[in-house]
């Protein structure tokens, strides 16, 4: 288990090179991919998330840790597919049409991936139709939308309405986030939850998709 702890620590330090090396070593030593993911990468990202929330570290540290996490995940992914290991769930995420701000959305994607969810990131300026198409194609469990501009927030309601229209509302949960949003706004447009940050988004999605927890 020391190897996994070391892996987690290198991830927390944003050391992509060592994370890749140790992930490779763990695989070579025969550790199951899921064990490496949970005990090394996810464990490390969880510490990073907590420290970020407590303002002990800031955005650059999280971005570096995420790069390190991806270095490890890239090696594990083919094995997970081969072993037919299901992720904790699938989330389609994007910044809504008209909005080019993506730092918040990227953070949410990082935290969700760091918690073992599969994230399909549609980028920014995503049209309602694109959200729906991706949710259908990917058989997503959750749609996550971000808006930083008060002027683009109304697009979120359009997506919720389209999800209903496409008769996906039964199986797709909808979370929203962004600086100008609130619980009230999420309720008003018919979303399932407002998430105030990436870690909160993880909490919400875990609550919605408890099957792997």
């Amino acid at each position: 288990m020391d190897l996994l702890r070391e892996l987690s620590e290198h991830l927390q330090n944003g050391d992509a090179k060592n994370v890749a090396e140790l992930t490779q070593r763990a695989i070579s030593e025969g550790l199951p991919a899921k064990t490496v993911l949970d005990g090394g990468l996810i464990a490390g990202m969880s510490v990073v998330g907590d420290k970020f929330r407590l303002h002990e570290i800031f955005l650059p540290d999280v971005l570096l840790a995420a790069k390190a996490m991806y270095a490890g995940m890239d090696l594990l992914k083919p094995l997970m597919i081969k072993d037919n290991i299901k992720t904790a769930g699938k989330v389609v995420i994007g910044t809504v049409q008209g909005d080019l701000h993506d730092i918040g959305k990227n953070l949410v994607a990082i935290m969700l991936r760091g918690a073992g969810f599969e994230v399909i990131d549609l980028g920014n300026d995503v049209s309602p139709q694109k959200f729906i198409a991706a949710a259908e194609r990917e058989k997503a469990d959750v749609i996550g939308m971000s808006a930083l501009l008060t002027t683009t927030m109304p697009v979120m309601k359009k997506v919720v309405d389209l999800v209903k229209e496409a008769q996906l509302r039964e199986r797709v949960r909808i979370i929203v986030g962004g600086a100008p949003l609130s619980d009230e706004y999420a309720r008003e447009i018919g979303a399932d939850a407002y998430c105030f940050d990436g870690i909160n988004a993880v909490d919400c999605v875990q609550k919605f998709l408890p099957r792997n927890r």
Binding site: D61, K67, D99
Partner: protein
């Protein structure tokens, strides 16, 4: 008109204008459109807004070039029109205000993150700012305002880019802070002490803060800057955090509230006071009353 660097040495608070984005949205800018596109397509809108702020008593008018760096313009495929967009922005304001106000060139974040946590090199970002600022300085603005920065490294590159083009042009540099349990920090973790020292070292002449959570926090931020710098301080506050009222976005701080609270900024010795998101010519007019009624500092 007295050159701006001379004006800085004269007594009295200098009053800047208020929000531009807020005014542009009121005039039909669609969310997701490039605000700087208006410089080439409808400069008369910028002239109109400039006159409103001038009439309200602003001594400084800022250009519509916040996102005018080619890296930022590239998100709208407008980077090949960088010179035209930035040049027209300055000329529109000169048309509108002549020499009745100082023209400050706004220079906001490039929208890319620096290596190693991001993917853009320092050289790439420096060159992007340099290209924008070369045009702007060539057009004859009175000062550069590097603003709303959250990464000190990026702010430093912007200030250095301006300095590399002109050794004499006054440069203001502001960063945007949140209140955290660890004190005021930018999203990227920069503290006020780090900002004050870093921006001064980069070559800024006036330093401070803009945007943010409202005037009450700004008073504390200004006091903190005062501890770490002897340079003139600039504060441009949002009119609070926007709230939704019956589907419409409202900035809660009234002109009177901001003007009253701004008196505390005078006490701290803030040299330039203006407004950011949510402030209007009404706020500028209210600030003008208290600025003019203040004992010279």
């Amino acid at each position: 008109m007295t050159p701006f660097h001379e004006r800085l040495k004269q007594p009295g608070v200098i009053l800047g204008d208020g929000a531009l984005g807020t005014m542009l949205f009121q005039r039909g800018l669609s969310p997701g459109d490039c605000p700087e596109r208006l410089n080439i397509e409808a400069p008369e809108i910028l002239e109109e807004i400039a006159r409103l702020y001038l009439d309200a008593g602003a001594e400084i008018i800022q250009t519509n070039t916040f996102g005018g760096s080619p890296l930022k313009l590239a998100s709208y495929s407008l980077d090949n029109r960088t010179e035209e967009i930035n040049g027209r922005a300055v000329r529109a304001l000169r048309n509108a205000v002549g020499d009745k106000a100082y023209i400050f060139a706004s220079c906001g974040p490039c929208g890319k993150l620096l290596e190693p946590y991001g993917d853009s090199s320092a050289e790439e970002i420096f060159e992007s700012f340099r290209r924008q600022l070369r045009t702007i300085i060539g057009e004859g603005v009175d000062a550069i305002c590097v603003e709303t920065m959250t990464d000190l490294a990026e702010a430093t590159l912007a200030v250095q880019a301006a300095r590399s083009i002109s050794t004499t042009i006054p440069i203001c540099a502001t960063m945007t802070f949140d209140s955290t349990p660890k004190g005021f920090r930018t999203v990227m973790g920069t503290s006020i002490e780090q900002a004050a020292r870093g921006l001064a070292a980069a070559g800024a002449d006036v330093i401070g803060s803009n945007c943010g959570n409202g005037i009450v926090n700004m008073v504390q931020i200004a006091a903190e800057f005062r501890k770490f710098t002897s340079l003139p301080i600039i504060i441009q506050s949002n009119a609070g955090i926007p709230v939704l009222k019956e589907g419409a976005v409202v900035y809660p701080e009234t002109a009177e509230f901001m003007a009253e609270k701004s008196k505390e900024l005078f006490k701290i010795g803030v040299k330039i006071i203006g407004g950011c998101c949510g402030t209007t010519p009404e706020h500028t007019a209210a600030l003008r009353k208290v600025v003019s009624g203040t004992v010279l500092c």
